[in-house]
Symmetry: C2
Subunit: 97 residues, 2 copies
């Protein structure tokens, strides 16, 4: 297990957030809601995100109700957002298309 990255500074966050336009940022967390045509497609997306999250050793807090996936990213050990959250958000954006 690699050491956890430090919490991002306000300047670092301000520089990174414009590229993550699908995410809302509040209280040290990133949040994105993704809708798919069906449960099968929503859970297929979750499966691909799960593999990426495990590879990064950084996992989302998330929920699913039929065709909707709600994703919250934060680094609990850092008490806020780190480079890991930005990386996972970018990878989720790629997977979600």
């Amino acid at each position: 297990v690699s050491p956890r990255p430090p919490r991002l500074s306000d300047d670092e966050l301000a520089a990174a957030l414009p590229a993550l336009a699908a995410w809302t940022h509040a209280d040290g967390r990133l949040h994105r809601r993704i809708e798919r045509p069906s449960f099968v497609e929503a859970f297929a997306l979750m499966t691909s995100i799960a593999l990426v999250a495990e590879r990064l050793d950084h996992h989302p807090d998330w929920s699913n109700a039929w065709n909707v996936v709600e994703i919250t990213l934060t680094t609990h050990s850092a008490g806020g957002l780190t480079a890991l959250d930005l990386e996972l958000a970018r990878r989720i954006d790629e997977l979600a298309g």
Copy 2:
């Protein structure tokens, strides 16, 4: 798609709930929290539940945070619990061991 079953009567619920001891019942919903040793094992369980849910054409409202899966069952179209929720709860119990 088969017709949705009707909401269970209080008597039907009272007869069914003792066999679902891992679930709490409130406000027309069943809830179970399942903890696993890791994210991999938690998500593996979710994957097996997803396949069963799709087969039943009845899906959970659920969330995951690392090794914890929280599951809520209800039948939105019936405004409460139906035989489908009982069946899905039983299948989840089998999968969760």
